[in-house]
């Protein structure tokens, strides 16, 4: 098993229980999409799988190792083999795109090489290759603050492609892109995963994209798995149950409740 969760529960600092006793097994080279309403715990699940978030209970096994029983140094070495694409790309706005992409390999480089790369980019062709696959080959030397939200999201993906991890996790990787670009970007990710024998787990808002690109679909609701099926077996009824929302389905919200709170400065 590449990824294995046993009875994992996550409670955030504000008391919200994001995951409740979750069991999950994902094998090597699988391509899995996680869908579910917002607040279902999709991001928490991906962060737990990436060992970025320590669950309060339960056991996390990544690439055959119990992530939270390792020493900090060993865990950093394990993390270098796992790539997480963030929903809002965590890139410093004053950094150049080439540096942001090359930072993907920091976990594998020595500190000397990392610092040298900061002064003078050591692998411009590598960064350009990763960016070209996402149609950003001409932005290698642009500053991150010059890019749009969708372009930044693709720079974040290019960084993880350059990292070349064995497990690729993606948290809403295409949320800031138009439908055509989103489809293209997902197919790039899936193709990369197939060609390099990478396990791919992505959370998605758009159900159609999930069904189109992924073979296994996990429906998450209230921190629990509602269904876990091959894509072709997912039907309308299950999706309705997944996204059922009593509050939104009741009569359209009355238009007269304009109680705008003006913040005090």
């Amino acid at each position: 098993m590449t990824l294995q969760l046993t009875q994992v529960s996550v409670t955030h600092a504000n008391g919200v229980q994001a995951l409740r006793g979750l069991d999950l097994r994902i094998g090597a080279n699988e391509q899995v999409a996680i869908i579910g309403p917002s607040g279902a715990g999709k991001s928490s699940l991906l962060n737990v799988l990436a060992t970025a978030l320590r669950p309060r209970q339960g056991e996390v096994q990544v690439l055959g190792e119990r992530a939270w029983e390792l020493s900090a140094r060993q865990r950093q070495r394990l993390r270098a083999r796992v790539g997480l694409i963030h929903q809002s790309p965590p890139l410093p706005l004053r950094q150049r795109v080439v540096t942001a992409v090359l930072a993907g390999k920091l976990g594998q480089w020595s500190i000397g090489k990392s610092l040298l790369n900061l002064v003078h980019p050591l692998d411009v062709p590598g960064a350009r290759a990763a960016l070209s696959r996402l149609d950003l080959g001409d932005k290698v030397f642009a500053q991150c603050q010059q890019l749009s939200g969708g372009q930044l999201q693709r720079v974040g993906i290019a960084r993880v492609l350059y990292q070349a991890p064995e497990v690729l996790l993606a948290d809403e990787p295409v949320s800031a892109m138009d439908p055509v670009l989103a489809g293209h970007t997902l197919s790039v990710l899936c193709r990369h995963a197939r060609e390099h024998n990478v396990t791919l787990v992505a959370s998605l808002h758009a159900v159609e994209l999930a069904l189109e690109h992924f073979s296994r679909i996990i429906g998450l609701r209230d921190g629990q798995i509602l269904f876990d099926l091959p894509a072709e077996e997912v039907d309308r009824e299950q999706l309705d149950a997944l996204y059922a929302n009593e509050q939104l389905q009741s009569a359209p919200p009355p238009a007269s409740t304009l109680s705008v709170q003006i913040p005090r400065c």
């Binding site: 955030h12 600092a13 990436a50 060992t51 970025a52 978030l53 320590r54 900090a72 950093q76 070495r77 394990l78 993390r79 270098a80 083999r81 796992v82 790539g83 997480l84 963030h86 965590p90 890139l91 410093p92 706005l93 004053r94 950094q95 540096t99 930072a103 993907g104 920091l106 976990g107 594998q108 480089w109 500190i111 990392s114 610092l115 900061l118 993880v160 990292q163 991890p165 003006i262 005090r264 400065c265």
Partner: protein
């Protein structure tokens, strides 16, 4: 009707806060025994007038200018050497004291573990100790130890300023978005690399601005320490004041003005380059 539309709900709290600030200011003026009417008394005005009128024209004979040039260079050297020594201590200390590099914070939603929080305290305490004693006291101490001259000034600036720089650097690191550095830590990078790639780009301009400002302060501090015998423009100023040479004092003050203007322009240039 119009009145209700244009009413700003924040107006009243702001007015009250402004009044409160004024009310709190009054005891401050009272306890510092500030008495502006002294300035209006005729004999003190005459005294000040005589002192200031001696300032013109500023001294500009060749001999004094050469002395002034040397003192200026010495002051700049004291400030720069002191800052360099201070940075050598402040940069590592700020990296240790700051929560920005905490590995455990990256996987606990931004909060470091208790043990690592405890370990930061000795360093914070050291920085507090270093900056709590004014540089003039250190200078007096070092003048006793190493004798009159610039060395005492350099050491005094190095000690006090390392405390100030370390504290403010650590806080600047924490004041920017931590997600880039956390994301890098979560993908296996080391702490120093995560700092350089995730935090440094966002804080560089702020750091440079503060460092140049502190360098400017170090120039002023080295002048003050000159009065206790630590060399530079201050020592010259002390001599000129004792001799009631108003013209020389004026030239010295103009030099300070030029130095501060220079530091200001340098800071602007560097910030523009880093923005």
């Amino acid at each position: 009707m119009l009145k209700r539309d244009t009413r700003d709900p924040a107006a009243r709290p702001r007015l009250l806060l402004g009044l409160l600030a004024l009310v709190l200011l009054w005891p401050g003026i009272h306890f510092s025994e500030l008495n502006l009417s002294v300035l209006m008394a005729s004999d003190s005005q005459r005294e000040m007038g005589r002192f200031v009128s001696a300032f013109w024209p500023p001294a500009h004979d060749a001999e004094f200018l050469e002395l002034l040039g040397q003192a200026t260079l010495q002051t700049l050297a004291i400030a720069t050497a002191g800052m360099t020594l201070a940075l050598m201590l402040a940069v590592p200390a700020s990296l240790v004291a700051s929560r920005a590099l905490s590995l455990s914070a990256a996987s606990h939603a931004g909060r470091p573990e208790y043990l690592s929080r405890l370990l930061r305290w000795p360093v914070r305490g050291l920085l507090i100790f270093l900056r709590s004693i004014p540089e003039i006291v250190w200078a007096l101490l070092f003048v006793r130890a190493v004798g009159l001259g610039p060395t005492a000034g350099v050491l005094a600036i190095a000690i006090t300023y390392s405390g100030m720089l370390g504290k403010v650097y650590a806080e600047i690191y924490e004041s920017v978005d931590q997600r880039p550095a956390h994301a890098l830590l979560q993908s296996g990078s080391g702490r120093l690399a995560a700092f350089c790639y995730g935090i440094l780009p966002n804080v560089a301009a702020e750091l440079v601005s503060y460092t140049v400002y502190r360098w400017e302060c170090a120039i002023r501090a080295s002048v003050v320490m000159g009065f206790v015998g630590a060399g530079g423009l201050g020592q010259q100023m002390d001599l000129s004041l004792r001799m009631f040479a108003g013209g020389e004092v004026a030239s010295l003050l103009l030099t300070f003005l030029a130095l501060v203007l220079f530091a200001d322009q340098l800071s602007r240039l560097l910030r523009w380059r880093l923005a």
